[in-house]
Amino acid sequence: MIENLKFQHSFNYAYIDEFTKKEIRRKTLKAVCIPGYQVPYSSPEMPISRGWGTGGLHLTLSLVGPDDVLKVIDQGSDASVNACNLRLFIKEMSNCAVTFDTAEATLIQTRHRVPEEILTEKQILVLQVPQPEVLRGVERHEAKTRIMHGEADYAKIWVTLYEAYVRSGTLRNGAGHPIMVNGRYVATPSPIPSWDVPNLNKARCLYLFGAGREKRIHCIPPFTRVEPLEFEDIRFKVEEFVGVRCSTSGQDKAFMDQVYADDLSSSYVINDSNFLDKLRKGPRPPQKLFTNPE
């Protein structure tokens, strides 16, 4: 019988082997140094398929230690199947503590939302990114998009905003409004709602974006200027929930989900589950709110 020594050991700490973790950390450092620039990285195999949060998982596993407190959310919820499984996996592999409490966490992995509560300099937010290339929609060829980034040639992405305005009267085009990072690179904030985009600007925490399938990492370091692309006369706006209150907590001023009942009547619920819990139990956690321009 052939003995395979490789499988006689249990997994390495935090699943990924040390050399690969080192490589991911090195690429992350590069991404921190060039805000908004997409750094290619190895994207090693994971026990989940690429495109299911592997990019976020790589970043989290390369950073996590036994002293960390981990929180995993999926579209604002700690309880979704994806969030639960990723949280369990990272905990098993790294022996870290886990929490639902946004303020308590040192490391937060998220998909499609940034927590409502203001994050601090002690925290890192890891976002799972499906498509890191903000120009992909206007340019199919990777070689060309790289040249466009290199030369800061962003006219085409501006045209899509112009067209969105002409078509719908608003710049908002679903989730993931393109952002200008530190006045140089246009990047995608991953498909977060416009509501969350102002939270990226001059934040105290570190934002890391990992795209496992596309093998790219980009980053917004703390206190970095992040501006949503907007025209001089047509300004960027976040979602408005006018005259709407959360049906569970009775509160407003948070990103809400519209929930339909069987009789097609609808109600609104605050999307961020931990924020909602805190609102129901006690005082409102600190929050950064954006006022839409007139």
Partner: protein, 279 residues
């Protein structure tokens, strides 16, 4: 020599294939080919030099494969040059070679100081954008970030080029060939460039539409005083639009002079053939 030129082109050369020494001497009208007999390299443009003056319209005629389109595409940085020098007055007062500029600077020249109208509207327009969006692209490249101003300028340009403004927010894919060409012209002149390059703008259009497009170009030229390089194999177009003409064959200039003179009294055998075959 008069020094108020706008564009000065010297020894512009484009070789597809191996640029071995002597390849330029083995091709050209003298040998009746642009393919090098030793290496098989194709010399598309062979040491072309000329000056273009402000407000002047220069015609470039020649049969297909004579290097006309390659010439303007090189001037618009669509194609890499093999050798040669181009000076352009708005850039450092014409003291630098455009091809030695950085890519950003080249893009600036392209977007702010030149306009190009391609034979095929698909090359000049993005059919995934609306026609208004196509014009907006050119304005956004020149850092106009005001939708109100973009809309006004777009409507203004489309009126000027006789495209119905009601169809501003429609894709040019749904336009007729003549309308697509006029949208392309509107895009090319969006930033009031001092130099406009027209590559076979009327080929493939029917005669009445051709006349309209030519009228439009002539009107714009008179209104804006823009310099133009007009590439065409159609002597009718050349006669109607241009002041001065160069006749190209196998990548070289075989004859140049005032358009009227060339059409009335062609000197070179090839030009005589061209003029006599004019329908």
């Amino acid at each position: 020599m008069n020094n108020n030129w706008l564009l000065r082109v010297r020894n512009l050369t484009k070789i597809y294939g191996e640029a071995t020494p002597g390849v330029l001497e083995r091709t050209g009208p003298k040998f009746d080919t642009n393919i090098c007999s030793r290496t098989g390299a194709v010399v598309a443009v062979n040491g072309i030099s000329f000056d273009l003056y402000p407000g002047e319209v220069l015609g470039v005629v020649g049969e297909s494969g004579s290097g006309k389109s390659t010439l303007v595409q090189m001037l618009y940085f669509d194609q890499e040059v093999t050798a040669g020098e181009v000076n352009f007055k708005p850039i450092e007062d014409g003291n630098v070679n455009l091809f030695e500029l950085s890519n950003q600077k080249k893009r600036y020249v392209r977007n702010h100081l030149m306009g190009m109208v391609y034979q095929n509207p698909r090359d000049g327009l993005n059919f995934r954008f609306t026609s208004g969006g196509n014009i907006a692209e050119k304005l956004l490249m020149a850092n106009v970030f005001n939708v109100g101003k973009i809309r006004i300028r777009g409507a203004d340009l489309l009126t000027k080029t006789e495209v119905p403004i009601q169809r501003m927010d429609e894709s040019p894919a749904r336009f007729s060939g003549g309308m697509q060409q006029r949208v392309q012209i509107a895009k090319a002149i969006a930033n009031n460039p001092p130099l406009l390059l027209l590559d076979e703008v009327t080929s493939g259009l029917d005669v009445s539409v051709q006349a309209k497009v030519l009228d439009l170009i002539r009107g714009l030229q008179q209104d804006l005083g823009v310099s133009m390089i007009v590439v065409s194999h159609d002597l009718g177009v050349i006669r109607m639009l241009t002041d001065r003409t160069m006749v190209l064959k196998h990548g070289q200039i075989v004859e140049q002079g005032l358009t009227d003179q060339i059409l009335q009294d062609p000197q070179h055998g090839y030009t005589q053939l061209l003029v006599s075959s004019l329908l």
